[in-house]
């Protein structure tokens, strides 16, 4: 499932996928895969992304449908 919350949080900070990838020390393709829902990141990567985007885990990665 696509992670649109993460995408919009990133866009709100005017960050490209490459910028976010460099900030959390992963490849751009990994950020792309997370946003497209093709990859489930580990908790450590989730926390890193939340820290950079200034959001909580629930705000970015909680699935309302579960």
């Amino acid at each position: 499932m696509k992670n649109l919350k993460m995408k919009s949080a990133r866009a709100a900070l005017d960050m490209s996928q490459q910028d976010l990838a460099a900030a959390v020390n992963v490849s751009r393709q990994t950020i792309n895969a997370i946003e497209k829902g093709d990859y489930n990141p580990t908790i450590n990567l989730c926390r890193s992304i939340c820290k950079v985007l200034g959001k909580t885990l629930d705000e970015l990665f909680w699935d309302e449908e579960l």
């Binding site: 490209s16 996928q17 490459q18 020390n25 992963v26 490849s27 393709q29 990994t30 792309n32 895969a33 990859y39 990141p41 580990t42 990567l45």
Partner: protein
């Protein structure tokens, strides 16, 4: 660091130049035309005789040293097995071989000066074959005595001889070392060229070179490559059992390695897990292209047909360079194709 690198490269170049010059002192001993003794034998073999027909010849060894035996045998028709045993002056066998039609070159054997007796034995029935093989200490590999015809007249052309094994001088071994150093120099120059033009490559394989998603994908790639290699070995073994031994050679082994490498790399590329976090596309493309082109150049004579790819029914050993070159060029094509695909996706996503 760059200053040290330049010093290193200069030193290596100087060392290689010195060895190259001394290596020129190694005269390439042109192998003299090997002259073998020849004999034409007409033999009538009968099933069940107590002592099979045979013929005896002699070879002289002038001085102690390492020698190579050459035994060639060509009968005019199928159905006869020729055994050959070479005895020294004390009647100890020093070499033996068997075959229907054979061209045998022995390994290096240490011989003393003297006269050696070459005995050929002509066998057709099962008892003869088994008896000879027991005395000659030769494993009866793929010899089915039941297929041999019995009671026949055969004309057999024999050739036999020996040659003193060539020994290399010190310059030869220095030349080998020079070759390895030269290869290292080429690697350093390629790396320097890549870094100079803005490329980034990372050969350290550190734990943090790849992110978690890439590591997962690489794990899958390793598994697929492993099973691809296993499958290749199984196929080659099955083909060998059917007497198709084209891949049973040094080059055949490397073909399996190249196939496994291709599976691993293509899986990584497709999952965007080939390039590490410390590399860029330019550096990786230049590195892979360099390896491919250099190996293609080394194996160019096989590409143009100047040298045959098959030697004695198996892939020639020196074809490895061509194989590796083609493998790396395929990798370049797939890698560049993936880069273009990613770029297109990126543009469509508005990034």
């Amino acid at each position: 660091m760059m200053h040290k690198g330049k010093i290193l490269i200069s030193l290596l170049a100087l060392i290689c130049l010195c060895f190259f010059v001394t290596g020129c002192g190694e005269k390439t001993d042109e192998r003299e035309d090997l002259s073998l003794e020849q004999a034409q034998v007409a033999v009538s073999v009968t099933d069940g005789v107590a002592a099979p027909k045979g013929s005896v010849y002699s070879l002289s060894v002038a001085e102690d040293g390492g020698y190579t035996f050459y035994i060639n045998c060509k009968p005019d028709k199928e159905g006869i097995l020729t055994g050959c045993v070479v005895y020294d002056e004390e009647d100890w066998p020093v070499f033996c071989c068997t075959g229907e039609e054979m061209q045998v070159e022995s390994q290096n054997i240490e011989l003393k000066a003297g006269t050696y007796r070459v005995e050929f034995c002509y066998l057709t029935n099962q008892n003869d074959v088994v008896a000879f093989l027991k005395n000659g200490w030769v494993k009866p590999d793929k010899i089915d005595p039941y297929t041999f015809s019995k009671n026949g007249d055969f004309n057999i052309h024999l050739e036999y001889g020996l040659e003193k094994s060539q020994k290399h001088s010190m310059y030869y071994y220095l030349g080998v070392i020079c070759g390895f150093l030269f290869a290292f120099l080429i690697i350093m120059l390629v790396r320097w060229g890549i870094l100079k033009t803005g490329g980034r490559i990372d050969l350290r394989c550190k734990a943090d070179s790849y992110d978690e998603r890439q590591q997962l994908a690489r794990g899958i790639a390793y598994k697929r490559a492993f099973f691809a290699l296993l499958f290749y070995i199984a196929v080659v073994s099955a083909l060998s059992e059917m007497d198709i031994s084209i891949f049973m050679s040094f080059a055949g082994m490397w073909l399996g390695v190249c196939i496994a490498l291709l599976v691993f790399v293509i899986t990584c590329i497709v999952h965007d897990a080939y390039m590490s976090l410390y590399e860029n596309a330019k550096g990786v493309t230049m590195l892979i292209s360099s390896v491919g082109v250099l190996n293609i150049l080394c194996g160019f004579e096989y590409l143009t047909g100047e040298k045959p790819i098959l030697e004695d029914g198996v892939i020639a050993a020196n074809c490895v360079n061509l194989m590796v070159g083609i493998t790396f060029l395929i990798i370049v094509v797939v890698f560049v194709g993936r880069l273009r695909y990613n770029k297109k996706q990126w543009e469509e996503d508005g990034e």
